[in-house]
Symmetry: C2
Subunit: 326 residues, 2 copies
DNA sequence: ATGAAAGCGCTAACAA
DNA sequence: TTGTTAGCGCTTTCAT
């Protein structure tokens, strides 16, 4: 591999001048620039990333922390980011936190040692106090995930509006007995605000019996149906909170002889590929994953280039996709 | 960030000695080693990866080239690799070739510039002649993908055995009119050998009309059914070559009023999560993705440490998962 | 067993 | 506008 010295020698100029050309500095006469370029060409020279990185000049590797890449939402997010990153000349490292605080911190630490130049945080299990110190070592931007008042560039879904729209769709279909599933808990969750707002506007009382917490996969969905079957007063519709939960609900409901949507209407969240595979096809709320990923990456690149992060809280809208389960 | 000099100063020893401790070299007295360790501890010192990398000492970032990460097979492969890599202290970079020769080469080139220390090739669209030169710059190992006679460590599925087993299952169910789908072409493909072997053993003639090439997604599966419906002599079973193709087949067949498996038996390939979501649930051939990824990573680590690759061609067995479509 | 010094490939301060 | 020189943080001869 040719080095900068080789190029200097071959072009009859100094390393400095070559460096200037590489980095597009001013004050280099066109002729000399040409000479350098020619020498680089002839030697098939590429600057050593390791050396440039050591000098703090190279910033091209971006880490993205997700919970689990097998979660289709994250899969598509990583896909979108990688596609754009490639075009822009960046490499992306995939980090799965597995919802493990330790693991997340280990990955954040890569920023400290410059193993990665910036991190897109798409999921986090740590408190802001724990994360904050890392911002000193390199840019961190939020994508999908969001912590209030951090001042970090954020791209996220309008969760309130999304769940509100989904609920209004169910209510518009005449439902008043609506069950609600969520991956986490009830409070402090944006999405739940939209849910409750819709209920209130429609003058429907919140029935805590129909709230299912910690449901985030197919099994969770099945559990929901089993629980509902045991009730005297059953809901006629369910806001699943996720397509996979919705899938579990549909599977188990059909198993139990319920007709969908006649006996039970179901609305998912995410619009994953499986939504169209289900029978009946799933009505769901589509997230603008691609856009989310791309804007987050743009934020990252800006931060990398400017050396500072701009406080931008970008909120994207979801889109209701009506199919057959409502 | 503390540097090696700081540690040297604090411990009252030379940088050389510190370096020796870091790299576990012999000829360092236990007491001095202790001193160094203590100083490192106190300064919270971590060697600079960039510097070590420049000296050719650090090898911790592994790239994995896949076609598209949204293909669940690759998703799970990347997942398996990342999980193990984390434990072993490596970082994985995800590269999507999108079946684009150029893009694949760009990513392979990262090896040249040491942006990545080794590459796990899980899919390739380039010829061996094109890839081979890159082996000079860092280890390349095959995983899932496979090119004959390269001498590179390979972990792959026993495709012949897998398709043979799937076919024998259909034949055992009494089918003799079996359609066959494949993502690529017919010849030069291991999987097709098993298919033809099973036919031959059962004394069934190959009906070229029932061979469908270039089918690799849901749409492809739908096309297959539409084509079959136009035939006078229709197959009673279909080997889908992939779960997504199988999904398309099932969807379209149901649409057309065909009963599954009575009118048309379907067997998939991969055992993706969607297999259990389909109605009826998909009989399919499960690939040992996790094991495949882990063994490939082990090969990579070995290569990284030894500086050379051992020629190992590891072949893993698939497992037939019988559900409701056969 | 230990250290001084040179050098990996690059950039930056300072001169010229 | 260009070059000289001194590092960045680490490893590696080569002495001692």
């Amino acid at each position: 591999m040719a080095t900068i010295s080789d190029v200097a020698k071959r072009s009859g100029l100094s390393k400095t001048t070559v460096s200037r050309v590489i980095n597009n500095y001013p004050h280099v006469t066109p002729e000399k620039r040409e000479k350098v370029l020619k020498a680089m060409e002839e030697l098939a020279y590429t600057p050593s990333p390791a050396a440039r990185r050591m000098r703090g000049q190279l910033k091209s590797s971006i880490g993205i922390i997700v919970t689990r890449i097998t979660n289709p939402f994250f899969t598509y997010l990583v896909d979108a980011i990688e596609q754009l990153a490639y075009k822009k000349g960046y490499q992306v490292m995939v980090f799965q936190s597995n919802d493990d605080r330790e693991k997340e911190l280990k990955y954040l630490s890569l920023l400290k040692t410059k193993q990665v130049d910036g991190i897109i945080l798409a999921a986090t299990v740590n408190e802001w106090e724990t994360i904050e110190p890392f911002t000193e070592y390199g840019p961190i931007v939020f994508c999908n995930e969001f912590i209030k008042g951090t001042g970090l560039p954020t791209v996220r879904l309008d969760e309130v509006g999304a769940s509100y729209e989904g609920m209004m769709h169910l209510i518009g279909r005449g439902h008043t007995k609506i069950a609600y599933c969520t991956g986490g808990v009830l409070e402090g969750n944006e999405r739940n605000i939209g849910f409750q707002r819709a209920l209130k506007e429609a003058g429907i009382d919140l029935n805590l019996q129909w709230i299912f917490l910690n449901k985030y996969n197919i099994d969770g969905g099945k559990q929901v149906v089993r629980a509902m079957l045991r009730m005297d007063d059953r809901p006629t519709a369910v806001f699943a909170g996720g397509d996979e939960v919705a899938a579990g609900i549909i599977l188990e409901a059909k198993e139990a002889g319920l007709r969908i949507p006649e006996d039970l209407a179901v609305i998912g969240f995410d619009d994953q590929p499986l939504a169209e595979l289900l029978d009946p096809k799933l009505t769901t709320i589509r997230q603008p994953v691609k856009q989310m990923g791309e804007e987050a990456l743009e934020n990252m690149i800006t931060a990398l280039n400017s050396g500072s992060v701009k406080n931008a809280d970008r909120i994207l809208s979801a889109e209701l996709v009506v199919r057959q389960t409502t």
